[in-house]
């Protein structure tokens, strides 16, 4: 299995490159890049978490921004009441995301395919409207977070602090997911995607395996929300609006579903692309929209076609090149 080998050097190289970002930004005197890449890493973390359900188990959760929002509000609401203890906020984020994941997952997993997509979307919207109508916590305008999460030893008080915290969490999550993928649980989870009936016949409960993955994924996404709240010092309902869920899926598809470093590469590619178009025109969505359409049309496997090529002599004919060079350019920059 070449992919294991490929991943084995891909992870250290990627993370060393990412670790260089704050130093490079400082050297060239552009502190903006630290903030920007901190945001990239936060979304990469959320994309990695989504990968656990969408990439491994093939469950298209279209409401994952919900967990980002819950993580954000765990920080926002606690600090609203004057609690800036990071550990308590972390505990709140994990517990809330796990409970919501358990309830929402239990209902959503009763359906499959298209039903699952729409119900996860609807639940996320439910929380979105809930936070919009909670005027106590800022409602539509969002909630300012005056004090950063204080973890005792360190405080998430600036972009650089958030950057390093996210970098470390992302590294841990990446290694965790790489191991999980090869673990019995990960194998069964991936098997539920391929042949749920056979998994059931083997004596595993497809429902339980998927629910466990969904809850785990929700909690990890909640961590991204906690970090995002500290990065922007703000909790807003818009963090859990459905375009955010869609963007996470786009990142995953660009990077390659079910791969270990794919979500990170996808998040970098997507947000760099977005930033580039924003520089070109105020109406950047006019370009980004069609780009997403083209990505969906031409790349059934997104970035994974690059990896696939190393394994198989003949690449899949459907891996059309039109959208790929843009992505490949970013990836080449990352893996050198």
């Amino acid at each position: 299995m070449n992919r294991v080998k490929f991943g084995a050097w891909m992870i250290p190289v990627l993370f060393i490159l990412l670790a260089a970002v704050p130093f490079v930004a400082q050297a060239i005197g552009e502190p903006f890049y630290v903030t920007f890449f901190a945001r990239v890493l936060v979304y990469a973390l959320a994309a990695c978490a989504l990968n656990l359900v969408l990439g491994f188990a093939g469950l298209v959760s279209f409401g994952h921004a919900m967990f980002i929002g819950l993580g954000c509000y765990a920080v926002g609401i606690l600090s609203f009441y004057g609690i800036s203890d990071g550990w308590l906020q972390l505990l709140a984020a994990v517990v809330v995301c796990a409970l919501v994941g358990l309830v929402v997952g239990t209902v959503c997993l009763r359906t499959s395919g298209i039903g699952f997509i729409m119900i996860t979307l609807a639940f996320a919207q439910m929380f979105y409207f809930l936070m919009v109508s909670m005027t106590t916590f800022g409602g539509d305008d969002g909630l300012n977070i005056n004090e950063p999460s204080n973890f005792g030893l360190f405080e998430l008080s600036g972009s650089t602090e958030v950057y390093w915290a996210t970098w470390a969490v992302l590294l841990a999550v990446t290694i965790f997911l790489a191991r999980l993928k090869k673990s019995p649980f990960g194998m069964v989870l991936q098997a539920t995607h391929i042949n749920p009936r056979r998994v059931n016949a083997f004596g595993y409960s497809v429902f339980r395996v998927q629910l466990a993955a969904y809850v785990m994924s929700g909690v990890l996404t909640g961590l991204a929300g906690l970090l995002l709240a500290n990065l922007t010092a703000f909790a807003s309902p818009s963090y859990m609006s459905w375009p955010v869920s869609g963007e996470l899926i786009v990142m995953l598809v660009i990077g390659g579903l079910g791969t270990i470093t794919g979500p990170i590469v996808g998040a970098i590619a997507f947000l760099v692309m977005e930033e580039f178009f924003k520089g070109l025109t105020q109406h950047w969505m006019l370009i980004m929209g069609p780009v997403i359409v083209v990505i969906a049309l031409v790349s059934k496997n997104g970035f994974a076609w690059l990896i696939r090529r190393r394994e198989e002599p003949a690449p899949a004919p459907s891996a059309a090149p039109a959208a790929a060079p843009k992505v490949a350019a970013v990836s080449a920059g990352e893996s050198q």
Binding site: L121, S133, M134, I249, L286, G289, V291, I292, K300
Partner: protein, 304 residues
């Protein structure tokens, strides 16, 4: 709570239900037959609203505005079908969701480029601007018109699907589209017509809703989410389910928003009732959806 206020709230609910039905019937048909999930359906609704408002402002003829909206949305739908939907029919839903998500971004931005960021003004035609007395309370004529149109479309859809050859093919296509194709029916053409029909209905809904809601970029999304809830509750692919669910969801949503803060106020302090009420009201239909799914995962009307 007086009863005439309750009745007019109920009518508001039915009127929202009609709009939801116009949207969700197209969505559910396209999904049921082509297995295609179209998140850009809300954009077609927006196209209808903008074209309807713009052509009414330009011409002053309401009939012309409605026709223009239906035709414009239908043509945009046809274009979407050809460029985006058709290549993705056989693919995973994931890629359909992704592509139509990108389209939605594109249309929202396009609306801003053409019509600006602020709500675009859409007038109620002066002939329909009055109110009539219904059960002792005043009710706007225009909203009654919307309800009437909805009833007509529902009857038309029933006739089209149950009584015509086109409807027979649609029903056959929904159960086994490759078999229909083997029997010598031009299934590609059928799909195109159906996509146009769905898009046209969305455009009609948009044009009708324009004067009573605000016409602006992104207006399609909240309604699209409601329409998705409707087709999940009603059972995917079922027009009858869409009709029943649209009415239930819309009436519950409207009445919930009107009365939950009141009900809470009767046993809570006004301040907290005002804070919790709207939140509970906005969650109501999602709770309903969760309950329906918990007991009938395939929708209320589905016997499977």
């Amino acid at each position: 709570m007086n009863s005439s206020l309750f009745l007019s709230q109920l009518l508001n609910g039915v009127q929202l239900g009609v709009l939801l039905f116009l949207l969700s019937s197209g969505l559910t048909l396209i999904f049921g037959i082509m297995n295609f999930i179209n998140l850009a359906h809300g954009s077609l609704y927006m196209v209808g609203a903008f074209i309807g408002a713009a052509s009414y402002n330009a011409s002053g003829s309401f009939i012309f505005a409605i026709a223009a909206a239906i035709i414009a949305a239908g043509l945009v739908g046809l274009l979407l079908e050809h460029l985006v939907a058709k290549p993705l029919y056989r693919h995973d839903h994931l890629y359909q969701v992704l592509a139509t998500f990108g389209l939605m971004m594109f249309f929202n931005e396009l609306a801003i480029v053409i019509f600006g960021n602020r709500p675009y003004y859409a007038a109620i035609p002066s002939a329909l601007n009055g109110a009539v007395t219904l059960f002792g309370s005043q009710y706007p004529v225009y909203r009654i018109l919307i309800i009437a149109v909805g009833v007509l479309v529902a009857l038309g859809a029933w006739y089209l699907i149950q009584k015509t050859r086109f409807g027979m093919l649609i029903r056959a296509g929904a159960s086994n589209s490759s078999m229909v194709s083997v029997l010598g029916v031009n299934i590609d053409l059928l799909k195109k017509l159906l996509f146009m029909l769905g898009a046209g209905l969305a455009g009609l809904a948009g044009a009708l809703a324009g004067p009573i809601l605000s016409v602006q970029s992104g207006m399609g999304e909240p309604v699209l989410i409601l329409a998705l809830v409707v087709i999940v509750v009603g059972g995917i692919g079922s027009i009858r389910g869409a009709l029943v669910a649209a009415m239930i969801i819309a009436v519950i949503d409207t009445l919930g928003r009107a009365y939950i803060p009141h009900l809470l106020g009767s046993f809570m302090q006004p301040a907290s009732a005002n804070a919790v009420g709207p939140a509970m009201a906005s969650m109501l239909i999602y709770v309903l959806m969760a309950l329906v799914l918990a007991f009938r995962p395939n929708g209320i009307l589905n016997k499977k």
